[in-house]
């Protein structure tokens, strides 16, 4: 079974599209800022789909008015973690929404090994399966040849 047909994980918005260029990312940020969202940057080297909370890179950026500020922070995150997954998230603070409304990956490792299916035999002939990321076989920080 092929678990990684495109060779890249698909999480968040735009993940079936080709990589967004910096100008396209800036336009998305601009759109979010126009809606009053606060952008934040997160990174991880464990792309498991259930790994919901990635590490924050700096504080969420409230009160910005131009995409250049987010792009500046993104550039410094890319410089620090060139081989990690980095995503941008937009937080909508409207009452009763108060959650992430946009999220997309803006940086990914050159080589993404994908996921394997791990099987576990339990009572009787019952079989449990789970998704296992090949990358996480290596310790943190060495997963993508950093």
């Amino acid at each position: 079974m092929m678990t990684n047909p495109t060779g890249r994980i698909t999480q968040g918005m735009f993940s079936f599209l080709p990589e967004l260029t910096d100008e396209e990312i800036a336009l998305q940020i601009e759109y979010g800022l126009g809606k009053g969202y606060a952008w934040s940057i997160e990174y991880t080297d464990d792309p498991h789909p259930r790994n919901t909370y990635w590490e924050m890179f700096g504080m969420p950026m409230f009160d910005l008015s131009d995409a250049a500020g987010v792009m500046m922070e993104l550039a410094s995150c890319r410089a620090t973690f060139p081989n990690h997954y980095i995503r941008l998230m937009a937080f909508d603070s409207t009452r009763n929404i108060e959650s992430i409304t946009m999220s997309f990956i803006v940086n990914r490792p050159a080589n993404e090994p994908g996921f394997g299916l791990a099987r576990q035999e339990v009572q009787g002939r019952t079989m449990r399966t789970t998704v296992h990321s090949y990358a996480t076989d290596k310790p943190e920080g060495e997963r993508y040849g950093a």
């Binding site: 080709p18 100008e23 998305q28 759109y31 008015s65 131009d66 995409a67 250049a68 500020g69 987010v70």
Partner: protein, 327 residues
């Protein structure tokens, strides 16, 4: 990232040429026809309205207005050059406003943001006004995130640093102000397209600040000196302030105020327009208590909006004892 995208984003500029992708053009420029004369650029940007407003609303400040006109002209010409494909680096527009207290530095900074926005030099045209406290942290590792946060907020607009000389404290070699200055310099140099930094402060202290930070001085292209107002200009400012708050001078009051200004100018701590505003506020107080004392008199709109000569003559400045400090 290596290949050109096969799709378009709604609302995005069509950027087929990879060379053009480097700078995202302002959206409406594509719709309106490309201007070829200075007049057309001015008409499209409506910068003249702001300039006229500047001329009308700000009294005096002739050298400052002249410099602002020069900058506006440079930007208009740069726009025309850009249309003809004469590529040139975006001019650096970081500025330093130096002048005595109350000479209008903050007011001009706000106007400057409007002008730069109309000319599309800055994308958003908002002003983020900060002082040392907003940039410099209190412990090691606190300054850089603080300064960067302010810079991020100011992106696309104007960062106005009031009393900028406080950033550098030579008497304390462990002061974190230097760190903030270094981050500022880096962003001022590398992200000229994204924000304009305006430093403001009193002339003599800014001079010492620049002497100890030559890097800062050389990165600021425009040093604008705000001259002190003359007595006549101060009187005009008083007129303007009163009209804006629906007051006016009664008979003899304007002359009395002129005399007040002459006396006040010779006293220490005179803060130009700010002192005028404070003096007028105190005169309004006196007018209020004068009207308040007369309980049974029906008051007309005229009574309520007139500052009488007595309101002005009651000032401490007119007291014969010259030892009194500023009233």
């Amino acid at each position: 990232m290596a290949t050109a995208p096969l799709y378009t984003i709604p609302g995005a500029q069509a950027v087929p040429a990879p060379a053009a992708a480097a700078n995202v053009a302002p959206a409406p420029a594509a719709i309106t026809p490309a201007p070829v004369t200075v007049g057309e650029v001015l008409a499209q940007s409506q910068v003249e309205a702001v300039m006229d407003e500047l001329d009308r609303d700000l009294i005096g400040l002739a050298p400052v207005k002249a410099r602002i006109r020069d900058i506006a002209a440079l930007l208009v010409i740069a726009k025309l050059r850009e249309q003809l494909g004469l590529a040139s680096a975006k001019p650096s527009l970081h500025m330093c406003f130096s002048g005595n207290p109350g000479t209008g530095k903050t007011t001009v900074a706000l106007r400057m943001a409007q002008i730069l926005h109309r000319l599309r030099y800055v994308r958003k045209g908002h002003v983020v006004s900060v002082t040392r406290d907003d940039l410099v942290g209190q412990y090691i590792g606190h300054t850089a995130p603080k300064t960067k946060e302010v810079l991020k907020k100011a992106m696309g607009g104007v960062l106005f640093i009031d009393e900028a000389y406080y950033l550098y404290r030579p008497e304390n070699e462990r002061d974190y102000g230097q760190e903030a200055i270094e981050i500022l310099l880096q962003v001022m140099e590398n992200q000229r397209d994204d924000l304009v930094v305006i430093l403001a402060g009193y002339k003599d202290r800014m001079d010492t600040f620049f002497q100890s930070n030559p890097g800062m001085s050389s990165r600021i292209a425009h040093h604008l000196d705000f001259p002190d107002y003359s007595g006549n200009e101060l009187l005009q400012i008083a007129d303007r302030l009163l009209t804006d708050s629906h007051y006016r001078f009664g008979p003899g009051a304007r002359e009395a105020f002129d005399e007040y200004l002459q006396r006040r100018l010779t006293q220490p701590h005179f803060a130009n327009a700010r002192s005028v505003r404070n003096a007028l506020d105190r005169m309004r107080l006196r007018q209020a208590s004068r009207l308040f004392a007369d309980r049974d008199r029906p008051l007309t709109a005229d009574d309520l909006s007139t500052l009488a000569e007595s309101d002005i003559r009651a000032s401490r400045v007119f007291a014969t004892t010259a030892t009194t400090t500023a009233a």
